[in-house]
């Protein structure tokens, strides 16, 4: 299946992208304005959010796989060689 041209994708998704980025900014502002904001900054989930935002801002990634990379930021590690029940 052939994807849209880059220009067509910008035209079609620019406003949606803008909207979602502003939502993220507003979510972070809401956390900062709340009581206990300093403590919230130490929440490990916030570290993941900031790691994800930094990943989005990287310009050296040219593999068009940001969504996959973000998913990995928010994922537990898999350990090879775990104990499969009734291993054959």
């Amino acid at each position: 299946m052939t994807p849209l041209t880059a220009q067509a994708a910008i035209d079609r998704y620019y406003l949606e992208t803008r909207c979602k980025l502003i939502e993220i900014a507003a979510n972070l502002d809401r956390i900062d304005r709340g009581d206990g904001a300093a403590g919230a900054a130490a929440d490990p989930r916030m570290a993941k959010v900031l790691e994800a935002l930094a990943l989005l801002n990287r310009t050296d990634i040219t593999t068009a796989d940001r969504a996959e990379r973000l998913q990995r930021v928010f994922s537990q590690q898999f350990e090879e060689g775990w104990a499969i029940p009734n291993k054959k």
Binding site: M1, A64, L70, E79, N86
Partner: protein, 269 residues
Amino acid sequence: MRYIDPHIHMISRLTDDYERLAHAGCVAVSEPAFWAGFDRGSSLAFRDYFRQLTEVEPKRAAQYAIKHFCWLCINAKEAENVSLSREVIAMIPEFLDKPNVLGIGEIGLNKNTKNEATIFCEHLELAASRDELVLIHTPHLEDKYKGTRMILDMLRNESRLKPERVLVDHAEEHTIKPILDAGYWCGMTLYPVTKCTPQRSADMLERFGSTRVCVNSAGDWGPSNPMNVPALMLEMRLRGHSDAEISKVVYDNPLAFFKQCKRFKWSEE
């Protein structure tokens, strides 16, 4: 355009939803056994649930010219209770010859625990011994990647199950490739917040292709939209994909997977 929703929990939906699905072109649904929102107290509750899936729901769907198929199991969440799970697994064969049953599902993992893995493997044993199709739930959010990799390991360990007879569901950007590379069918679930949007699903179809890929709404008792398969169809159309490409994803593919079930009957009317 006609389509099939291969993963939707219609017992949790209003009859009005059947009408909306029919208006949108839905001709068949398949309904995996899942968690009811609370842990059931005994295996007798599952007997009633399996009767609902095999006797009641097909009649409700038929009022709107929709064919109803289903999958049987104890879900991953309640699989934490091993003794209850074994009672339910022992009961499943009583229902496997019902005409609308497609196989064992949606089995899988929830929090990737040892008990969940044990019961997952016991379901695989049942499916392999009865030559049944398998539909698999992968975990949510941060548990998904690890759980999907564990599931693929356990599937490889059951060599009697052919990959083309297994669908691994709820795939996202970080899990679709390992599923397809291993030869299994893959499901993408169009579900708010925790799974996949129609836009991201269309992206993955463009990136990984549509071979052995199905899409579903997983409409259930939680926040969900049973009309999300038509939403993907529109997204694909707006991107310029042809009717044939769209139909392959939403009709031909689920039909090809279902046709491997020895009980499955279908007429192209």
